[in-house]
Structures are given as structure tokens and as C-alpha cells.
């Protein structure tokens, strides 16, 4: 209901229409969705995760566990938004979650009736057999029944900004402590950034009362903000949540820019990525619920939250509210309710006596204070209508039933230590406050070991206003004087973890510790009985503090119950780890602009535009895009590949090989270096010649291959695979810089400096001769030689190397002359039947020749010897990278799987990744295997399927027929030589 008067944040002259589920309602400017709903008499806002119990708001801010809604519709729908943080705007649309068919009538609430059979960890115990049923039956059903809101399926249409910033002091939290810290720091001349998650400054102080500088705290807040805003080196932001403090003072802040307007021009949110000299954590404290039976019934909320609803937004669940507490602070709620005209039939205080100024003020206001009293249960369906009082120390015998519309509970406060703990700050247990507070002797540290976070105000455990504001000023500048402040003295609280303390098992099964995840006192006690002694294990077994809660409301109560069950002291049980983010951050903000076309860089060869203009379909190769093939009108890809293969074998093909890695290695010790890097001897390669080389890691496994050309006495050009250029260059530099640093060698990655075109096929020589300028005859330029000159007036280096088995020249020219050369080749090749071919034709032709492909025939466990490449290893060299590794017994085992060709008996193409079925079963009881297919294609040249594979003792088993299994079918194939086409190599050496 909306109160007639009051509400410091609302504007009664500006009503706003909004829709919740299927009903349109009216709220006021300044409302949150939660306050507007309460104002409309709606306190049922969600259903719990597991039992689907009806739930209303427990909090009024970011710690809210229950009132999670889906905001917006379609692509802009955002699930799991806290209604307590959602500012109302005209036309807002929100939907409740985790209910079917409706929030008020949820069929899944049947789970609640059988909750006795769904205790903590039930799914670990219940759904074990049959094993297949977990994946296909149990898990999908559980996921449907338990869950938060579904994510939208469409792409996010909004934009998200990211900004980098630096500051000396970053203050998280714009309450009085944060403002005092920012002021004190800014007055020393420091660059200060102050972030407040709410839309307004001041935190709790304007609601809680007291005086600052002799006046209302709100007045001091306004003056402090004005002074800060006038300072040049101060950045102030509201609606900006400090989500994480990472290593060395790296801070993430999410700022909400247009959410409160319901959208608008410009980015929706901004992610600040800040390097802060130091961080002041002034995030305040979270009030703790009390664990009494039925404490999850809608209408039961934190005392501070009900105070906020009444004071800030002039709303309440109804005209009467009971307060239940173990401390003096909750009396502020009783007094605020009374001032707002809401009756408080009783304050149930668990302590034996309550005689401080606040309890006295309550009594003076005519409010009944019942000490030594607790709550034995709540009454009501869908919302609370009465509470049952009992002796706080007893077993829960009901002494009195009191009608009410709300229950304001307070179990004390827990400092919001998240931003302190995330980067490694330690906590200590404060016995008097029954709370974990930051231990100033063990702060999180930065790069130089210096403290990087200071806690201030309630976050440091300074809960009373004068202590809070003084601690803030000190955190900003140790020499600063704090503004004078006053607040009522408070008597010590009495730790209460279970209410009533002598409650039996049935009552404990209705005491909620974690409202969102449906974790009760009985669940934590069950975990303890079942041997979960670590709080981290208990958290995972019971789901206590998971999802959006992250220990905000449930943490201390949960671990106190665990400590009791284990008969341990609370500080010995400790807390779970506080991990970022402090509150959920939308993925869009983390992604920023890095999505779609700018998600990652795209590398284009100098010929990219020509390919695009000639109908290439693309294949991603690392960051490169290479033409897969060039389909003609009405031509399938497979047909295009076959045409390209046959044309290259019969006439002339052109391939853009520019992505091939090209690393120059130069210097007096370059030969010695390459002899270590490659398995073969490169120092003995004559100038003008090319040699195929293999690179292995120290384990002995093959990591890359390519042709090496010796350019000069002290210079080699190393070709790598397209995907390997950067990696191999780094690999070379690693060895040169960190192992052989006194060897005189330079390396340079020239990959992008050169366009490289493979001119392939029986007419390749004629095509180059038509361009003119170089003698490319067999005599002048034999196979595995290279020459430099000009072709069609373009300076070129021509390599006689072949990856197809055909007569082949690879021509390298400066990158900016690549298109010119390509177009000249297309023109000159016209009469010769030239066609471009793509990567798939390249792959098919190399497989027809039995040439290996790194990443197909290798997978990080394959040595050159497995691939029949022992000839490329120099036996004479005393050492090379991988030599010692290859000497290990397992790599010399004759039973290793080795490369062979495979031909299906029926001519079909074996499925990719098919395994050869062996005899019997392996150690895991699975069907034994004795090999696998590494490359498989339809060969247009042979007009049948061909494959390469690694087979146990393969080369010794020529002619044997094996059975391959994949994709649910079995295929028989014969072991053959891996060289399917032109085994004598006549075609390439002409």
C-alpha cells in the first residue's frame, strides 16, 4: 500500500504506468519496480529456485534474492533483474520467473509438498542409475523445474561502451563513509573516482537518522557532493557498481546509462576498466535475516529494507508490522514505521533485556517490547498474516499469535567485504558485532606489496554513524578531520543463528538461510552430518550462497549454523571465497564493442578482394580467410572442388599461398641454429636449393613443417604452415633469446610482406614463360631449386616446390604487386585453361600424394617417424629439438600407430575421425581400436574415396582389410600406400 505522506525519493506528481506479468499498474517517478509493486499491494514477486515457494522482496537493494524478474521483451529481455534495483519508467514491462502457468498459481509448487524428499544434494543421491537416464531424463527435467529466467535467443540489439581510466584513489560506495573518504582524498590533490551503485547519494544515513555537522545527514551529503563536483580531478558517477577489484588494483565498474529511462540513444551500459592506485571499499553492510520457521513467507523482510520502503518510497505491505531482532538498530525501523502511521504490535527481541536509548524511545512511543522473545512460525498463504511468538531460548512453544502484514527481521549486520576479499584481503571475526570484518593487518596487496584496498564505514565494521563517517575520512586521508556526527548509542547484539534456539528438526526444515536457492538450516546440518566439514564443500553440496547471492545475505548465518553443527568456532569454519563480480555484470558490457565483425581481427591476403569478386567461399584458417573453392553458377561446392582438382592435374591451377609463413633467419650462426630447430640438416643446404623441414617440440612431437630455402651463405627463408607462422617465429625467438642467446642470429617474420602464388599443373611452365623475364626451364630451375628475377616486370622469387605432385612454381612478389601478378597469370593462362583453386582442392591433391598436413595427420602426439618421415631426420646430427624426446621408449615402440593409405572396398568415403576396430576390449571395457582416419576425401583423380590414417604397425600390414566405425556405421577398407597418385613422382619433376 502507498502511504498518504512521506517518501523522500518519490515524486507524487509524476505517475508512471508499468506492466507486471499481464497487469498494467501505476507507480511514481522515483520508485523502484519493487516499491511500485508494494505500493500496488503486490508483494508476491517470484518463486523460489527449487521448491517454487511464493516469495516477496526481502531487501530493498542489490542484495535482493527473491524479487528477480525478466525485464523487457524479445531481444531486449534481460532475465534475473532485481526488482529492488530497477528504477521505474513509463511503459516498463516485467515478467515474473520460474513459475508455470502463473506466479500466483504455480504447478511446480508441488515440489514444496515433497520437499522432505528433496534435501540438499538429493540429485547426487537419487539420479544415479540408470546412467543414461541422467543425461536424457533427469537432468532436463530438473533443469526445467529449477531455474532462473531464460536468456533471450536473439542477438542483443544494444550497444555497450568501454572506457579505460586511471586514478589515485577509487572509492566504491557513495554513502557518508565513501563521500567522506572521497572528500578527504580529493582535498590532498589526489585524482579521485567515486562510484555509487544507487541512483542517489548518501546510502543509509538519510534513512537511518542521526546528525552530521549539526544537521540532517542528507544536508551534509548534498554539500559534500557539491564540493566534490566542483573539484577538477574528481569523477562522480551514480548508477555505477564496482563489480570487481582484481590483481594490482585493476577495477571493473559497470555503469547503467539508459536502463532507468527504458532505453535511449547511446550505449546502454558502460564498463569502466580502471587502474586505481588504491581502492576505498565503502560499500556498507548487509543486514542479516533471522532463521526462524517460515521466515521466507512474503511480507517477511529485513528491518532495514522495510525502513527503506517506508521512508524512501512511502510504501508498506500493510498497516501492521511486527519487528523481530537481536539488536538495537531494528528499533529504528519500529520508530520509522510508527512515524509513518504503521502500527507495530510488538517488537520481539531475543535478548533478555533491551534498555538502550532506541528501545527506550520505542517504549516511549507506546510500542510493546517483548524481550527474550522469538518467532515460532509465520501464518499465511502467499503472504504473512500473523506471527507466532515464543520463548527465544525454547523449543518453539507458541505463546501468542499476533496478526500483522509484515515482519521486519534483523539478525545484525555483515560488512560488505567483497571488494576487500576479492583481491586477497583477509578477514577476522569480530566477537562483539558477531561479524567478519576486514583484518587491517592482512590487506590485499599490489605489485610492490603495498596495501591496495582500505575499508571504510560499515564495510569496515564501523556501523554507527559517527564511527562510520570518521572511518571514511581516515580512509581518504589519515590526517583528515572527520565532520562531527551524532547517533544514538547501541547496546550489544546477541548472536542468534537459529530461532528459537531449541527448535526441533521439523522447525529447522522451515528456517531459510538462502532464500534464492532454498537452503534451510536443516540442509546445512544434513551436510555437516554427511561429513562436509569444509564450508566450501558445504556451499557446493547445499548450493548455499550460489547464484546472485554470492554470500551477501546467506553467508554468515549459513556458516554459523555449520559451525554449530560441527561444534566449531565460527572463525575456524571461515567463509567461502569471495569471487568477482560483486553483483552480476551483463555479458554485453564485458564484451563491449568486441562482437560481430570486430570480435577479432581478420587477416586478408593481398588477393582477398580478387577472390571475393570471383565467387570464393571462405574457409577460416586462424585469423586468415582463404578461398575454400570458387563455385560457378549452379555448381555445388563438391563439384567445384572436383573441377578445380582435375583442371589443375590436367591443365593449370592458381592458388593464393600468401598465408604461408615466411620467416627469414640470418646471421653467422643461422645454420647452426636451424640445425637445432629442424630435425634435418639445414646448414648443409646449398645456396639456391630448397629442402623440406620438420620442427618438433622437446617431447619429440611434430609441431610444424615447411620448405626451407637457402637465400645466401648466411641467410635462410623458412616456410611454415599458414597457421604456424606467428607461433614458429615466437618459438625461434624463444630459443634464441633464452637458451642460445650468444648465437648471432636474427629472425624476421616476412609473411605479410609477400604475396605468394602457386602456379600448378602441366602448363605451369608455359604460363610463366608467357609472362617472360626468367628462365624457368628444368635445366635452369630444377625441382627443389629457387631463383630470383623478374616476371612480367615484377621482382619475383620463384621456388620449384610442389604440394600437389604436379609441376609447380611458387612465386613470391612484394605484397603490393600480388594482384598484378595474379591478373597477369590469369590472362596468360587463359589459353592454357587456367582456373583458380581453393584450400579444399589443395587438401585433396596433397592427400592423393600422401603429403601430411599439420593438424590432420598430427595432433600433438605424433612423431615424424610415425608418418614415414624418418628420411627428414638427420641421423648424423648430435642434437636437435625433440631428439632426446624421441629416444623415449614409448616413442620407439614398434606397436605405434603409423601412417598408411586407406581405400574402402566399396569406393566410398570413410567418415572423418573413424576408428579402426581392433580385437577384444580395452582396459575400460570398450571396444578396442587399432588406428584412426586422419584425412579422408573423395578423390576426383581416382574417382573414389581415399583416406590417410594412423594404424598400429600400419606399414607392415599392406593389403590387410580393416573395419572402421563412425557415425553409427561400419566401413571396410584396405591398407595401401599413402601415395595414391603418381607414386614415382614423374609429374612434378619435369
Amino acid at each position: 500500500m502507498r502511504l498518504e505522506t512521506g517518501g523522500r525519493l518519490i515524486d507524487r506528481t509524476r505517475p508512471l504506468r508499468f506492466r507486471f506479468d499481464d497487469r498494467w499498474m501505476t507507480g511514481l517517478a522515483g520508485d523502484t519496480l519493487a516499491s511500485a509493486l508494494i505500493g500496488q499491494g503486490r508483494i508476491l514477486m517470484g518463486r523460489s529456485f527449487k521448491y517454487h515457494r511464493p516469495r516477496g522482496p526481502v531487501a530493498a537493494g542489490l542484495e535482493e534474492p527473491n524479487a528477480l524478474v525478466t525485464l523487457g521483451t524479445g531481444a531486449r529481455a534481460e532475465p534475473n533483474v532485481r526488482a529492488t534495483q530497477t528504477e521505474l519508467f513509463q511503459g516498463l514491462r516485467a515478467d515474473s520467473q520460474n513459475r508455470w502457468p502463473s506466479l500466483a498459481f504455480d504447478l511446480m509448487a508441488a515440489n514444496d509438498l515433497v520437499s522432505r524428499f528433496l534435501p540438499a544434494g538429493f540429485y547426487y543421491k537419487t539420479f544415479i542409475r540408470p546412467r543414461a537416464a541422467w543425461k536424457h531424463l533427469f537432468e532436463p527435467a530438473i533443469r526445467r523445474a529449477a531455474g532462473l529466467g531464460p536468456a533471450p535467443k536473439a542477438a542483443d540489439p544494444d550497444r555497450y561502451d568501454q572506457v579505460y581510466a586511471f586514478c589515485d584513489v577509487l572509492v566504491a560506495g557513495g554513502g557518508v563513509a565513501g563521500l567522506a573518504a572521497a572528500l578527504a582524498a580529493a582535498r590532498t590533490g589526489a585524482r579521485v573516482m567515486l562510484f555509487e551503485q544507487a541512483p542517489h547519494w548518501g546510502g543509509r544515513a538519510p534513512v537511518d537518522g542521526g546528525t552530521v555537522a549539526g544537521g540532517d545527514p542528507a544536508g551534509w551529503v548534498a554539500a559534500a557532493v557539491a564540493e566534490l563536483a566542483a573539484m577538477p580531478d574528481v569523477t562522480l558517477r551514480t548508477r555505477a557498481t564496482v563489480a570487481a577489484v582484481h590483481d594490482h588494483g585493476y577495477v571493473l565498474v559497470e555503469e547503467r546509462l539508459t536502463d532507468h529511462l527504458g532505453g535511449g540513444p547511446g550505449p546502454r551500459r558502460r564498463l569502466w576498466r580502471i587502474r586505481a592506485g588504491r581502492v576505498v571499499n565503502a560499500c556498507g553492510a548487509f543486514e542479516r535475516p533471522l532463521a526462524f520457521p517460515g521466515n521466507d513467507r512474503p511480507g517477511v523482510m529485513l528491518a532495514s529494507a522495510l525502513r527503506d520502503y517506508v521512508v524512501n518510497w512511502a510504501v508498506a505491505p500493510g498497516p501492521a508490522a511486527v519487528v523481530v531482532t537481536n539488536n538495537d538498530d531494528a528499533y529504528r525501523t519500529a520508530l520509522a514505521l510508527r512515524r509513518a502511521g504503521i502500527s507495530v504490535p510488538v517488537i520481539a527481541d531475543a535478548r533478555p533485556a533491551a534498555d538502550g536509548p532506541l528501545p527506550q524511545a520505542a517504549r516511549a512511543a507506546g510500542i510493546r517490547v517483548a524481550t527474550g522473545t522469538g518467532i515460532a512460525g509465520t501464518v499465511g498463504r502467499g503472504r504473512v498474516v500473523a506471527v507466532q511468538l515464543c520463548d527465544a531460548g525454547g523449543g518453539g512453544h507458541v505463546t501468542e499469535t499476533i496478526p500483522c502484514d509484515a515482519v521486519a527481521m534483523s539478525g545484525g549486520w555483515s560488512p560488505a567485504v567483497h571488494l576487500w576479499s576479492q583481491p586477497g584481503g583477509r578477514l577476522r571475526w569480530d566477537e562483539a558485532g558477531a561479524m567478519f570484518v576486514p583484518d587491517p593487518d592482512h590487506p590485499p596487496t599490489g605489485a610492490a606489496g603495498e596495501p591496495i584496498v582500505t575499508c571504510a564505514g560499515a564495510a569496515a565494521g564501523a556501523l554507527r554513524l559517527p564511527d562510520c563517517i570518521a572511518s571514511g575520512a581516515r580512509a581518504g586521508d589519515p590526517a583528515a578531520a572527520a565532520p562531527p556526527a551524532e547517533a544514538e548509542a547501541e547496546a550489544p547484539l546477541l548472536p542468534v543463528w537459529v530461532m528459537p534456539s531449541g527448535a526441533g528438526p521439523r522447525k529447522r526444515a522451515k528456517m531459510w538461510l538462502d532464500f534464492q536457492n532454498d537452503v534451510k538450516v536443516s540442509d546445512v546440518e544434513l551436510a555437516a552430518r554427511e561429513g562436509y566439514r569444509s564450508v566450501e564443500h558445504t556451499k557446493r553440496y547445499t548450493t548455499l550462497g550460489m547464484a546472485t547471492d554470492q554470500g551477501k545475505l546467506s553467508n554468515v548465518n549459513g556458516l554459523a549454523v555449520l559451525a554449530q553443527a560441527l561444534d566449531e568456532a565460527i572463525p575456524r569454519v571461515g567463509t567461502t571465497t569471495f569471487r568477482p563480480p560483486f553483483v552480476p555484470v551483463t555479458i554485453g558490457a564485458l564484451a563491449g564493442e568486441a562482437r560481430g565483425a570486430v570480435f577479432q581481427p581478420l587477416r586478408r591476403t593481398p588477393l582477398h578482394d580478387w577472390h571475393a569478386a570471383h565467387g570464393a567461399v571462405w574457409e577460416p584458417v586462424g585469423l586468415w580467410r582463404r578461398p575454400y573453392c570458387y563455385p560457378r553458377a549452379n555448381e555445388s561446392r563438391a563439384d567445384a572442388v572436383a573441377r578445380e582438382v582435375l583442371n589443375t592435374r590436367r591443365a593449370l591451377g592458381l592458388l593464393d599461398a600468401s598465408t604461408l609463413g615466411k620467416i627469414v633467419v640470418k646471421g653467422p650462426d643461422a645454420g647452426r641454429f636451424l640445425d637445432m630447430i629442424y630435425t634435418g640438416a639445414m646448414s648443409s643446404l646449398p645456396v639456391g636449393r630448397c629442402r623440406y623441414g620438420l620442427l618438433c617440440n622437446e617431447q619429440g612431437f611434430l609441431i610444424d613443417d615447411g620448405v626451407v630455402a637457402r637465400l645466401a651463405e648466411d641467410t635462410w627463408l623458412c616456410h611454415t604452415t599458414s597457421g604456424g607462422a606467428d607461433r614458429i617465429h615466437v618459438w625461434m625467438e624463444d630459443w634464441l633469446q633464452t637458451e642460445w642467446w650468444n648465437w648471432r642470429v636474427f629472425t624476421l617474420n616476412l609473411t605479410e610482406q609477400l604475396a605468394q602464388i602457386a602456379v600448378v599443373g602441366p602448363h605451369a611452365r608455359k604460363a610463366l614463360e608467357a609472362l617472360g623475364g626468367m628462365d624457368v626451364s628444368k635445366a635452369a630451375l630444377p625441382f627443389m631449386h629457387w631463383a630470383e628475377g623478374t616476371l612480367a616486370g615484377i621482382p619475383a622469387r620463384v621456388f620449384r616446390i610442389s604440394f600437389s605432385g604436379e609441376l609447380s612454381y611458387e612465386v613470391a612478389v612484394p605484397a603490393d604487386r600480388g594482384v598484378e601478378l595474379w591478373e597477369r597469370l590469369v590472362a596468360a593462362g587463359g589459353p592454357l585453361g587456367v582456373m583458380p583453386y581453393g584450400t579444399e582442392a589443395l587438401h585433396v591433391m596433397r592427400a592423393e600424394k600422401g603429403f601430411i598436413m599439420i593438424g590432420d595427420e598430427t595432433d600433438g602426439t605424433v612423431i615424424p617417424q610415425d608418418l614415414g618421415l624418418g628420411w627428414a631426420i638427420s641421423a648424423r646430427k648430435p642434437d636437435y629439438l625433440g631428439k632426446r624426446g624421441q629416444m623415449r621408449p614409448a616413442l620407439a615402440d614398434p606397436d605405434r600407430w603409423r601412417l598408411v593409405g586407406l581405400m574402402t572396398l566399396d569406393g566410398s568415403v570413410i567418415p572423418e575421425g573413424a576408428y579402426a576396430v581392433g580385437a577384444g576390449r580395452n582396459a575400460n571395457g570398450q571396444t578396442a581400436t587399432e588406428g584412426r582416419v586422419t584425412s579422408t576425401y573423395f578423390s576426383p583423380t581416382l574417382n573414389r574415396g581415399i583416406a590417410l590414417g594412423l594404424i598400429r604397425r600400419g606399414p607392415e600390414r599392406m593389403g590387410e582389410v580393416l573395419t572402421f566405425a563412425a557415425e553409427g556405421r561400419r566401413v571396410q577398407a584396405r591398407i595401401v600406400s599413402p601415395v595414391f597418385h603418381d607414386p614415382e613422382g614423374k609429374a612434378q619433376d619435369v
Binding site: 590483481d247 586477497g424 596487496t445 622437446e698 642467446w741 650468444n742
Partner: protein, 116 residues
């Protein structure tokens, strides 16, 4: 996200500008090495909770490898130094001794840096 200083170009930069390379000061074991020595070279890593010497490369900067002395528990950086070193230089060892005690410095000290 760490901040590191590249000892070559002097730049203080974000961790994303660097690439990690594992434990520093490993001695390569070649074909003459025993099985035990080779196994240790390939697989045995110190993985301490505390002071650790590790390899980093200024991947999106000057491209140079360098070494860092860092606390794996608190992420404190005691110093970075060139990869062409047999062990941490005296200034880094002094810093470790100052921050973590002489024992910690002695544990990671491996003699004077190599000037070659």
C-alpha cells in the same frame, strides 16, 4: 590482472600485453641426458606458493622474453630482469630478502647473472 615492467623497453603494461612462459632458469637436457634428468626437464616444475621465478614475453610490445620474480600467493612483483641471466640479479634478490626473508632469496638465488 598483473602489471609488469618490461626490462627491455621499460614499459609498464597490463598483463594482457604479455604472454606467460612458465618457470624460468630451466636447464635444457639434450640427447646425453639420463631418463631422470630428462623427465625433470620436461615435467617437474617448482609450483611454489611464494616466490617464483618465471618467464614472460612482451608479446604485444617489443617481443622480448624476460624473467620476473613474483609471489604466487600475493602477486607481489620483486622485479623483472633480462632473460639472458643465469639467476636473478642482486637487486631482485635483495628485494626478495627484504620482503620475504633471506631464506626465500637464497632458495631462488642461483649465482651471479651471466653477462655473456
Amino acid at each position: 590482472m598483473l602489471m609488469l615492467v618490461c626490462p627491455y623497453c621499460g614499459v609498464t603494461a597490463e598483463e594482457t600485453e604479455f604472454a606467460p612462459g612458465g618457470e624460468a632458469h630451466l636447464s635444457r637436457v639434450g640427447p646425453d641426458g639420463s631418463d631422470e634428468a630428462f623427465e625433470a626437464y620436461l615435467f617437474a616444475r617448482a609450483n611454489p606458493k611464494g616466490v617464483h621465478l618465471e618467464r614472460w614475453r612482451h608479446a604485444y610490445g617489443c617481443g622480448k622474453w624476460f624473467l620476473a620474480a613474483r609471489c604466487t600467493a600475493t602477486l607481489e612483483v620483486f622485479g623483472t630482469y633480462p632473460a639472458q641471466s643465469k639467476g636473478p640479479p642482486p637487486a631482485v634478490l635483495d628485494r626478495i630478502a627484504d620482503r620475504r626473508g633471506a631464506g626465500a632469496a637464497a632458495r631462488v638465488g642461483r649465482g651471479a647473472p651471466d653477462a655473456s
